[in-house]
């Protein structure tokens, strides 16, 4: 068995930026000793040169912020960072934009840290375009209050602001991801920031956990646990650690998918025979069958407007993707190419559908433009699974297999940027990208 790290990615794309994040997750006494290794594989598209200096008075913070902002931007594969050394650019002054432009930067951040009451801090920043000659070069600014413990979230918010101003696409850094880590015969459901840092364990079990699904408000996770030697769906409240059974009917209970309003879920039950899609209230009441087929119907996913449920069905023989009105009724086939198209995941903006397709024995993530029904393969590994859109509809997290070990990767929805996010010495799978953090 080869253990070569990610050989394919490296020769598909040219420019490789490799970042090593050493994170010691002291608060997680777990199976995972956590070095996070993120590899960005860019397409060679033009990177946006930007200066993110050390913030004025940043040393007054217990934990640095600017380096997290820089790491977010660099990892996105869309920016190159122009180094300014220890020089700071106070928010209160407009930087010398001509000088910044001569260093090669198209945009520059001016940022300051100020003490606030109660041991808190205030971060102020403004973003400037060094290339605007005729108009106001200022792209906007923001003021953030934070406690010292919130430095990572504050940094991700600043990176989101910069990302959106400079790319026109909303950022995705201030989000969390859920995933399952397997180590030996033990399983953990973990939650981490979108950069893989701050990992916290939500559940430990000697049996498998699959299909984590974020509630729309990001406060709960539904998932399938095999702890009772059969699949049962639980809903887990992250702040309290309390979990309750959502569905434990005779047979198997799986594939939870929250409706956009968070009041109901689509689930798969087998109480009436084969796997079929039901709707159930978030308190576990009122289960009713949505669709009836003579084969397998599974992997439901709601369209963001709540009108459609996309799902996988073998009603035509091979597994293909269909959609049906969320009120029930006739299903319409969505995929026609190939003999294995599963795991439909509509983008939060409703324009795209990510799914898993098998081609010549390889399982890849592909994306369909829902208006034109055009399909584009996004990955080229052998064993990809579980695509999950970021809230900005522009990045897709998925599970991949490298040397027999599960890892997480992310790709931009146009395939131009990829990054690998792995927790060393662990088998990671079943990623789910959560909503933007409040």
């Amino acid at each position: 068995m080869t253990k070569a790290p990610c050989p394919r990615l490296s020769h598909i794309f040219s420019g490789i930026v490799r970042l090593l994040y050493l994170a010691f997750l002291a608060c997680v006494p777990t199976i995972v000793h956590a070095d996070i290794d993120i590899t960005v594989t860019g397409s060679g598209a033009k990177l946006f040169p930007v200066i993110i200096p050390v913030f004025e008075n940043e040393a007054s913070l217990p934990n640095a912020i600017s380096e997290i902002v820089r790491a977010d931007l660099e990892r996105s594969g869309r920016f190159s960072l122009v180094d300014l050394g220890p020089l700071t650019l106070p928010e209160s002054k407009t930087p010398d934009l001509a000088a910044m432009a001569s260093r090669g930067a198209d945009a520059v951040l001016a940022a300051s840290v100020l003490p606030a009451s109660g041991g808190r801090f205030e971060i102020r920043f403004r973003l400037f375009d060094t290339t605007r000659k005729d108009s106001n070069p200022e792209l906007g600014g923001m003021l953030l209050h934070m406690s010292p413990a919130q430095h990572r979230l504050a940094a991700h918010r600043i990176a989101d602001f910069i990302y959106e101003k400079l790319t026109g696409i909303p950022g995705y850094f201030a989000t969390r991801i859920a995933y399952v880590v397997k180590s030996g015969s033990r399983y953990e459901l973990q939650i981490a920031d979108s950069d893989g840092m701050n990992a916290q364990t939500a559940l430990r079990s000697p049996e498998s956990i699959i299909s984590p699904a974020w509630s729309p408000n990001g406060e709960q996770l539904a998932y399938v646990s095999f702890e009772a030697r059969k699949p049962i769906i639980y809903i887990h409240t992250l702040a309290t650690g309390q979990r309750k059974v959502l569905a434990n009917f005779k047979g198997s209970n799986s594939a939870p998918a929250w409706a956009p309003d968070g009041k109901r879920l689509a689930v798969v039950l087998t109480k009436d025979g084969l796997s079929q899609i039901y709707l159930i209230n978030a308190d576990g009441s009122g289960a009713r069958r949505l669709l009836t087929s003579s084969g397998i119907d599974t992997e439901p996913a709601w369209s963001p407007d709540g009108n459609w449920i996309y799902f996988t069905s073998d009603r035509s023989g091979d597994p293909q993707i269909y959609r049906a009105p969320a009120t029930g009724g006739n299903a319409e086939r969505v995929t026609f190419e190939g003999v294995y198209n599963v795991t439909p995941r509509p983008s939060p903006d409703g324009t795209k559908l990510a799914f898993l397709t098998r081609h010549e024995g390889r399982f890849r993530v592909a994306v369909m433009d829902l208006a034109s029904r055009q399909i584009m393969p996004l990955t080229d590994s052998a064993r990809d699974e579980s695509p999950s859109f970021a809230p900005n509809s522009n990045m897709i997290l998925y599970a991949t297999d490298i040397g027999g070990r599960g890892m997480l990767s992310a790709t931009s929805a146009d395939g131009s940027v990829r990054q690998r996010l792995s927790i060393q010495a662990a088998d990671v799978r079943e990623p789910a990208w959560g909503p933007l953090q409040k």
């Binding site: 200022e138 364990t201 650690g241 992997e299 996988t312 699974e385 799978r429």
Partner: protein, 166 residues
């Protein structure tokens, strides 16, 4: 909440063009901890040794790739389990369907269920009662063999009979 719009920020807001104002973000509040400090930890009781009335005959039936058709060689085993269930109405069995690891976990769960359901129907036809049987799927989560080879995958496409202790 105390909103401090400091002079420089006001100046900044005024200086910005109409569409690109400095905005004050909602403060990063002291929220409750993201995840609970007490982590639910599941411990399952040591597996009750399954009562195994058909030890010599085996407790597993195997299936072809992407298939849920019971092979003819599995018939005698299913027959024997059905007879036992018919003769002992108090006995209960869980039929656990399994799948090999390739592809989507949830689709594999559904394939495992299809296998378990095929076995359940056969047991019913042969005289076992509905209340005696639960067909469930473990999907690809309980492989009997973990190598990436066809012979290994074949061992994982199976249905297991698990009798509950009483």
């Amino acid at each position: 909440m105390k909103k401090l719009l400091l002079p420089s920020i006001v100046v900044l807001a005024l200086a910005a063009c109409a569409t690109e104002q400095a905005v004050e973000a909602p403060p990063v509040e002291d929220a409750p901890p993201k995840t609970s400090t007490t982590i639910p930890t599941i411990t399952t009781p040591s597996r009750t040794s399954p009562i195994d009335p058909l030890d010599r005959a085996g407790n597993s039936v195997y299936f072809d790739y992407d298939s849920y058709v019971i092979r003819s060689e599995a018939r005698p085993l299913i027959d024997a389990h059905a007879k036992r269930l018919a003769q002992e109405p108090g006995r209960k069995v869980t039929v656990q369907g399994n799948a090999d690891e390739r592809g989507s976990r949830e689709y594999n769960l559904a394939l495992g269920q299809k296998r378990a359901e095929a076995v359940r129907r056969a047991l019913r036809l042969l005289g076992a009662r509905d209340a005696q049987i639960e067909a469930v799927s473990l999907g690809e989560e309980h492989p009997a063999c973990t190598e990436a080879s066809e012979s290994c995958y074949a061992q994982n496409r199976r249905g297991d009979f698990v009798y509950l202790g009483r």
